[in-house]
Chain length 330, copies 2
Amino acid sequence: MTLGLTLDTSASQQISSATLEIIEPNDPAPGVEGPHRLIAGDNLAALDALREQAVAVHLVYLDPPFYTQRVHHRTKRKRNQRTGRLERSQAPAFDDRWPSLASYLAELHKRISRLRELLTPDGCAIIHVDPTTSHYVKVMCDQVFGPECFASEIVWRYRRWPAKTKNFQRVHDVLLRYQRDPKQTPRFEQLYEPLAPSTRATWGDTKQLADFDSDGRRIRSTRTSEPSPGTPLGDVWEIGVIAPVAKERTGYPTQKPEALVKRVVQACSHPGDLVLDPYLGSGTTMVVAAAEKRRAIGIDCSSEAIEVTCKRLQDRGVPFQHERVVPEPA
Amino acid sequence: MTLGLTLDTSASQQISSATLEIIEPNDPAPGVEGPHRLIAGDNLAALDALREQAVAVHLVYLDPPFYTQRVHHRTKRKRNQRTGRLERSQAPAFDDRWPSLASYLAELHKRISRLRELLTPDGCAIIHVDPTTSHYVKVMCDQVFGPECFASEIVWRYRRWPAKTKNFQRVHDVLLRYQRDPKQTPRFEQLYEPLAPSTRATWGDTKQLADFDSDGRRIRSTRTSEPSPGTPLGDVWEIGVIAPVAKERTGYPTQKPEALVKRVVQACSHPGDLVLDPYLGSGTTMVVAAAEKRRAIGIDCSSEAIEVTCKRLQDRGVPFQHERVVPEPA
DNA sequence: GCAGTTAATGAATCGCATG
DNA sequence: CCATGCGATTCATTAACTG
């Protein structure tokens, strides 16, 4: 028995020779290495072009389609001038239908193989999936990175309306984190979360100190007066989904909360670093990277995605360079 | 590329012909179908023997070794009579070292294939793993049950002493739930968890009701006066690990909290049902099943496990039948 | 201004109607 | 009869409004 399925990855190695054409240039701020780049077009070709440009990224966050076998739509709202009523229109944003799980994984494999090569040795990639595909994606990623490069399975726990089902409500997504080189000290900024209520009740808000007797045996810990920053952040994150009426909501489907991406960016990169998102969607990664003083490259083939992101970056006053993938004739 | 690894499962089909010998019989309580059964010996042979007996179980919970590549020890505490000091001794409990991940999965595959056949059509199996092996185990289980039988990835989130690492703290385990037959209405008892604070603040403790106007358009929801039981239980469970000094602690390694197993038992079985645990360990499943008025079968090959469980059941006044696997000469 | 109240609505799943 | 689609369900959350 082979585990599950066989992927044809022979095509994974063929490098395309597309180039990136600058539609609207933008000069980086003084002292910064380059501008934010928004790239419209196929991410596979774009990644090859970035390799040609010897781009080195510190963090990749990718939120690929989840193998839902559905087309996802963008919702636009408009107030009807005559009636004064809010009206909604729908436009297809991306197509998540696949012939098979194997074909889905094969396409993802190509992208992840290339992403890996763009990473700095201390960089990492974070792949956002859901618990119906996460296991297959993890096994596939172990092949790309090596199992020893697997760093974390992060669980994003959210709250939402209940579904009518004789099963436990599905209320989590999964983020797989891989390091490029496990021998390097990873680029990692320690974040903290609040102490558990039981800990605060017993120990207050100051650090505990483990104590040992003369035989090296553990004895009762002592309270210190040094304030505790909280407990080091775990791999289960409770962050709300974007509320239906929140200002943050763009109408782009599958939009992820800024709070989630912000945590990824803060923990896995430093200010000035380069962050890449090859499935940009509504542009959350670029918005967050800019706010956190990182430099961002975002890629998406959906014109709806590019439109939403452009608008969002402009609204925030984030300057960026707009580019386009140009396939090279063979 | 094949995904990860190839398992030799040809041996999985060979059914052994072991029998179960009753060491100490026990009559079931009146009106109950049979006694709790504690079976010492290899679980593979025991499962074959249970099949011979046409045993049908409603729920399987299994907590197999996690592929830690270590031997795990039981800690015994004793007060030294002369010095009055607490002294700890260690005895090997189980060996979790494997030649390869493939061999680990192959052994688990054999057990899970047999477990599946013992399940009632509306029954389910819950496999407790950790996030370093869960993905491979899920892919393997998809082969045994069929991917459409996968019901839930349950995340057990616990709190513990932080480790010093340049990574997110690992604070979760994974429980994979599979149904025997997805066309059957699953045996599932709806449990609830408290409403989110924001919901209570806005809506109070009563149910909301969606409203629609005459055109079928959504209008504002109304408050009802019917009290809400809470929100249907999700697939992320926050349950504390057993504290190092808790009464519940037996000294057996990898012991799981009763609260965790209780939730599994309450949600996935009814009173009077038969619950099976082929990696019994400290006996938590039998203790919880008995307390929840379910009937239990526990199997373990470790004499330390059997000893701990016997003591624990006796301390709780739970009567049980003690049996032993007797390999049949070929 | 601030706090408390009210309004608006996403989207998972089941069950039933429809083709 | 099987596939498809739509209606019903109902927490969770923030924005807007009100006193």
